[in-house]
Symmetry: C2
Subunit: 306 residues, 2 copies
Amino acid sequence: MDQIKIFSPATVANVSCGFDVLGFCLDTIGDEMIIKKTSQKGITISKIDGYKLPFETENNVAGVSALALYNDANPDFGFDIEIYKKIKPGSGIGSSSASAAGSVFAMNELLGRPYNKTQLTNFAMKGEALASHCEHADNLAPALFGGFTLVKSLAPLKVLQLPTPNELFAVVIHPQIEIKTSESRAILPQEVPLKNAITQWSNVGSLVHALHTEDYSLLSASLEDVIVEPHRSKLIPHFEKVKQTALKHGALGCGISGSGPSVFSLCKGEVIAKKVKDAIQNVYSQTGIDFEIHLSKINTEGIKIL
Amino acid sequence: MDQIKIFSPATVANVSCGFDVLGFCLDTIGDEMIIKKTSQKGITISKIDGYKLPFETENNVAGVSALALYNDANPDFGFDIEIYKKIKPGSGIGSSSASAAGSVFAMNELLGRPYNKTQLTNFAMKGEALASHCEHADNLAPALFGGFTLVKSLAPLKVLQLPTPNELFAVVIHPQIEIKTSESRAILPQEVPLKNAITQWSNVGSLVHALHTEDYSLLSASLEDVIVEPHRSKLIPHFEKVKQTALKHGALGCGISGSGPSVFSLCKGEVIAKKVKDAIQNVYSQTGIDFEIHLSKINTEGIKIL
């Protein structure tokens, strides 16, 4: 196999209660990438379609993660990357992670899978760091492992694959405004009330239990964020209206996707998800702000070979 | 049935990462109580053996929780309570919870079980509040439900029963010094670094996952407390030495039981638990401080009828 085409999915990090540790993988939104073996050593990026991103390997998220793997594997050939970018950078649904994870996933396939998913996540974190100025894995883990993931620790990297209840669907609205991850981090307090932290870890514990027991009602009760949402929601126009609309139409929960501006809702079953999508669409159509809206089953596979 | 004798177990709250929400139930340490129907209405306490505690119903933890249930059930007879107290008050292994949970559990049996465990926990919280000046359930839940529990929320009360891996044993050392829950709470900061809170909720999530998957290694990695232990451990003589000894001899983790001074270790298998117990005993014997030490399987049943 000398070349491979992949679908590298968008992902939702934080999932309300699990700031910096929880995430899940989407199915209908994602980039496509073609990675080819080249006789010349090194990593090149020959095509970037969809959004304007740097072609220099060291300045491109997919390039940096590719280099991390390449330098470790040290093969006697090189790789060329084509990126068909569908996820807008700065959308809050793991645009940089899709690029960073996609290149290393594809290279690993072409090399005969010498690396496991944790190792791939480690390489991809180097690319992710270029975009967000710190190494994190809350979007990378669901992209590479699929389903719901919990990043237990970064050093050493330990990713837990959580079970994904079968009937779970996500609706994601992406208002076409940009919030930089760095800005979105700066708005957060360095210290939080112990009382709120307790609420948050009880929610993380109960969310994990709810996934294991397929308890949708408990999942709904766990999708609460008393730490981050009160601050970041101010950066997202009409957040509260979207959230109340989603809940009113049957969503299990609704919160900020990653650092925003995208907002996710989780729903039991496609019928409810469609209702929630239509209702949010209706609300946002009246705001004058451009948006995209997606409905997706939870993708339990992660990156896919096309 | 006109009278019932029960074993009301000691419990370990917090379990390192889960301050105020996690707990588990012990098997070899606990109070005994005899509750009898009486023709006279109301609640009396006719015997308290072991420790000096108030006989007036309204000033006794078991009495206050009994009254809460009694006033709700409003039967045309009364109850008398005998308490054979084995768990020293202020030990940090749920002494007041054993009393508060025991009386309502026994009365519920004598009444033909009109209440479920959540309702019993709610009644028992009234008694617990007398001891600790605030309503909480992190010791009551494991006493009444058995095994590992997570208190998802207090209002409305929602207790989750987590799975208990079969080979799990606890060693609990109780240095014979008293730390009041109120003092132990006062030493805690009102605000905590967000960074540490993230570590804590990632540990709570991974601990719940570890219990579901019987992953002892992950359980071990999750038994970490970066929020409370750094403060409270100062109140417990030789805490660090005990902890290092437990870990060196194979314990999965070691932390403060409730608000202390008791210290728990969790171990995989009885053989390791015995080694850990002997090693801790050896260390503490040289300190000049009196102590009791217990080895117990995790009690998945909770309160038992004798």
